[in-house]
């Protein structure tokens, strides 16, 4: 899906936990996330801290969307 969205001309950032798979499917902008069942959260944190963590990850994704890349790039 990532690749087809990119092919259609939209910049897309893939937020996922298993980065090697993201690379295989051809994502160009990749933001690694927390864990498979909760990529953008961490149930062991308080609600506020969890939201803060999520916000940081989403901000990273927004930064990736604003960054020119030439090849597959992981935004750590």
């Amino acid at each position: 899906m990532v690749k087809e969205i990119e092919r259609a001309g939209l910049p897309v950032v893939h937020m996922c936990t298993i980065v090697p798979i993201s690379k295989t499917v051809g994502a160009n902008r990749i933001v690694p996330t927390v864990a498979i069942p909760h990529p953008l959260g961490n149930p062991s944190l308080s609600h506020e801290d969890e939201k803060l963590l999520r916000r940081k990850l989403v901000e990273k994704a927004l930064k990736a969307l604003q960054t020119p890349v030439e090849e597959q790039t992981v935004f750590e």
Binding site: M1, G9, P11, V13, T17, I21, P39, L40
Partner: protein, 347 residues
């Protein structure tokens, strides 16, 4: 006797389903689950001395640590052969089988064999390094896969010559081997050309690699004015799953309104995704689809606008052809709606 160590995930290791996907690796003496058929397929020439079982999520999330722990466990049995899976179309399991096989092969210098369905993401990651027997997409293909894995493994450990992918049943590794053909090259080429002109089937002797890569698009110029859409393969749907998106091998995607929604809650949204523990996403779907923080960022003017629809499907054993079709259709609609950038989340 040839000693074999077998690797299985929590499911085939008979520990449990998704709720056990986080278990750390441990060893059981002898064979477990599909190891029984594998052991029988060796016909007395080899024996499974131990089985390492590890949760798929644990492996994926702690790959380096898991690999090293498992290597130590395997080493203790001084095996002559290491077999993982088969993983069929299970993505995390395929990745784990490929990764641990490669690691064992490099460190212990013994033959390794695994098995996967051709669309398993582990295939593209590891087919150059490993012999991966081509299997069906589900455990229904076990009976078919096991004898092929056993036969190839025995050949490898006995240093016998390995035949072509078609003969042995493994996935092509991109290795070229010289052989003496009966007919000279020019004639073979002309024969192929004639077949091609006639529209008949022909087999090339020099396959071109299939690099389906899409070049990155230029970045968003002004994110504070951009309309951003959310797409997910994590199966987040309105409570009750109105479109009945399948928990695996999805045949469709859904388009859902989040107009006026500030926060996804356990009363309003859930996941339709099988193959991972749904507890966390069902409790708070923002953990997969970050609507709450994007709303905040929208309010603060950090992004122009969050698109009023999001798109979701279940990326669990979903056929590549389907995923491709979904992606194309979603992209067409997003562009028509004036969306300028996409955040796609996966579990």
């Amino acid at each position: 006797m040839i000693k074999v160590v077998h690797y299985l995930n929590q499911f085939f290791g008979q520990i449990g389903g998704e709720e056990k996907a986080h278990i750390e690796p441990f060893v059981k003496e002898g064979f477990v689950g599909p190891g029984m058929a594998l052991n029988a397929a060796f016909k007395g020439q080899a024996q499974i001395v131990a089985t390492v079982i590890c949760g798929d999520s644990y492996f994926a999330e702690n790959e380096e640590k898991a690999k090293n722990t498992i290597l130590e466990m395997v080493k203790k049995y001084e095996p002559d052969l290491f077999i993982a899976g088969p993983a069929f179309n299970a993505g995390r399991y395929g990745n784990a089988c490929g990764s641990i096989c490669k690691f064992v092969k490099e460190n212990l210098n013994i033959p390794v064999v695994t098995g996967m369905y051709i669309e398993n993401p582990g295939v593209d990651l590891y087919k150059k390094d490993l012999y991966i027997i081509s299997t069906k997409d589900s455990a229904a293909g076990m009976r078919d896969a096991i004898p092929k894995m056993a036969a190839l493994a025995l050949k490898l450990v006995n240093n016998q010559e390995i035949g072509s992918p078609e003969e042995e049943g493994y996935i092509e590794r991109g290795i070229r081997k010289n052989y003496f053909a009966e007919v000279r090259g020019s004639k073979r080429a002309v024969d192929m050309l004639v077949k091609k002109i006639r529209g008949e089937e022909f087999k090339t002797e020099f396959k071109m690699p299939d690099f389906d890569r899409v070049a990155p698009n230029p970045p968003v110029v002004d994110i504070t004015k951009a309309k951003i859409a959310l797409v997910t393969s994590g199966g987040i749907v309105p409570k009750g799953n109105p479109d009945k998106i399948e928990s695996s091998s999805a045949s469709k995607f859904g388009k859902y309104s989040i107009e006026g929604v500030d926060d996804l809650t356990s009363e309003t949204f859930e996941t339709a995704h099988g193959g991972y523990d749904p507890v966390y996403a069902n409790k708070d779907a923002d953990r997969v689809l970050p609507v709450d923080v994007l709303r905040e960022l929208e309010r603060e003017g950090k992004i122009g606008e969050l698109h009023k629809y999001y798109y979701a499907t279940v990326g669990n054993g979903t056929a590549v052809a389907n995923a491709k079709k979904f992606g194309q259709q979603i992209a067409r609609e997003l562009i028509a709606d004036g969306v300028q950038a996409v955040i796609l989340t996966s579990t």
